[in-house]
């Protein structure tokens, strides 16, 4: 193994700037996608627990559709295929008109994909509470919506803090798939540094360390949140 180690490459410009910008993109893509995944996922997850057959069926279709196609393929569908299915003008807007087309596409794709996984967690959380609590709420005269608002959801969200954290970490890691449609996030930048300097080991190590740092911080944060929202005598669903 004849390899010239040069850790200095990581703090030399423009490579340091590349890494910083890549890391920023990783964070921005993840957070944007997460907001979408969390809100949409909650809605879909709740729909799956309602009494309405129609809502349940729609939600189930959504989950099955987005869960059973690889993320990378979905990324390509949104990037290459989707704009061509639109009317010319709309397609053009998706490709260039909207702000930062690659980023937007990646964030939406990642968000929609992860929403299906969040939905499953929300559903599991609500179902784990059991019919009894729902009945207790209804028996007091609360409307079904009120039962969700005051009884089921406050408990369900507390229970699923760990699995949701793990979903967030998944979205964070999955944001690297955005590099396939040209978003220069952390992994892509590491690779580009490797391209330009041939110092691949240093670049990949830097990326790895960045990912591990964020993961650790998020885990710590989760423990904190879990402690803050925990209720005496309640246990949460174990993280997957």
């Amino acid at each position: 193994m004849n390899y010239n180690w040069d850790w200095g490459v990581l703090v030399r410009e423009p490579y340091l700037e590349w890494l910083t910008s890549g890391f920023t993109w990783t964070i921005v893509v993840s957070l944007t996608a997460w907001v979408l995944a969390f809100s949409l996922g909650s809605v879909i997850g709740i729909m799956r627990t309602t009494n309405s057959n129609l809502l349940r069926r729609i939600a189930t279709c959504y989950v099955e559709l987005f869960r059973n196609i690889p993320l990378l393929v979905q990324m390509f569908l949104w990037y290459f295929v989707f704009p061509e299915l639109l009317p010319q003008d709309a397609g053009m807007w998706v490709k260039r008109g909207m702000p930062m087309p690659e980023f937007t596409t990646a964030a939406i794709c990642l968000g929609l994909y992860t929403a299906s996984r969040v939905a499953e967690q929300v559903r599991a959380g609500i179902n784990s509470i059991g019919q009894g609590q729902r009945n207790a709420g209804l028996a007091m005269g609360l409307t079904p919506a009120q039962v969700y608002r005051y009884v089921l959801l406050p408990v369900a969200y507390r229970i699923i803090v760990p699995p949701l954290t793990s979903e967030f970490l998944t979205i964070f890691k999955n944001s690297s798939v955005a590099l396939t449609i040209g978003v220069l996030e952390t992994t892509a930048q590491a690779r580009q540094i490797e391209e330009y300097t041939f110092q691949g080991f240093e670049a990949f190590t830097a990326a790895t360390v960045l990912y591990i740092i964020v993961t650790s911080i998020v885990m710590l944060l989760m423990r904190f949140v879990e402690g803050r929202v925990s209720i005496p005598g309640m246990i949460s669903l174990g993280a997957k």
Binding site: A136, G137, A139, M140
Partner: protein, 242 residues
């Protein structure tokens, strides 16, 4: 006050309730017993519309439960219900449990609801536990809170679904005592239970169910004294002799 007329219910092909008819008048205490799976819980849940039924009708205070047009939440708010597993809301304190529906359903104000809560907690002798979370109480205490929660809505009737069967033996009596007191205060009650001691003491009528049918429906004295049907007798002998 509560009328059931030929109520039938199916889960898919399986018939859980088979033309059940009975009536509970104001101030009456009716005990429902029968083997596991005979449909007791289902029957009682039909009364306030927690379970839909396919045939027959139930009216509560002359309001039809089966009617699509009925405002079920409103109807339910007038009937208290107590469950086997207490079903207190774990994420809010005991006092908040009792206040929740007062605030959200009856639109009472905070002060009024709080006062009512404290008053009821005193009645079930738990005033000092108001700010604890449910999981910090024993089973017996939780069930008493659950009764207080139901009473906070000033119900016209109370339904109990095996309120003592999830309790440790030494806690059963503290709950039964509250229920006895309620009965003697004239509350209309439908109680699913196997506590025959309780039935003997306060029930006006006893209903015996088997395989979804109401097999016996008679006064307490008739039930315990006279020769009942075969099944009821076998059942009674099973649960009484240990």
């Amino acid at each position: 006050m509560i009328q059931l007329q030929d109520v039938s219910k199916w889960y898919g092909d399986f018939q859980v309730l088979d033309t059940c008819s009975t009536a509970v008048s104001k101030g009456e205490v009716v005990v429902v017993c029968g083997p596991s799976g005979s449909g007791k819980s289902t029957l009682i849940k039909c009364v306030n519309g927690l379970e839909p039924f396919q045939k027959g009708d139930i009216t509560v205070d002359d309001v039809s439960v089966g009617d699509k047009a009925t405002d079920l939440p409103k109807l339910r708010s007038r009937i208290g219900m107590v469950f086997q597993n207490f079903e207190l809301f774990p994420h809010i304190t005991v006092a908040e449990n009792i206040k929740l529906a007062q605030l959200k359903v009856l639109n009472r104000n905070e002060a009024e609801a709080g006062q009512k809560a404290m008053q009821l907690l005193e009645r079930v002798e738990l005033a000092d536990q108001a700010d604890k979370f449910p999981a910090q109480l024993s089973g017996g205490q939780q069930q008493r809170v659950a009764i207080a929660r139901a009473l906070a809505m000033d119900p016209i009737a109370m339904l109990f679904d095996e309120p003592t069967s999830a309790l440790d033996p030494e806690m059963i009596n503290e709950v039964l005592d509250v229920m006895v007191e309620l009965a003697s205060d004239g509350m209309t009650m439908m109680v699913v239970t196997h506590e025959m001691g309780f039935a003997r003491r306060v029930a006006n009528r006893v209903i015996f169910m088997d395989e979804g049918r109401i097999e016996e429906d008679c006064s307490k004295d008739e039930f315990f004294d006279s020769q009942r049907g075969d099944r009821a007798q076998t059942f009674l002998s099973k649960i009484l002799h240990h």
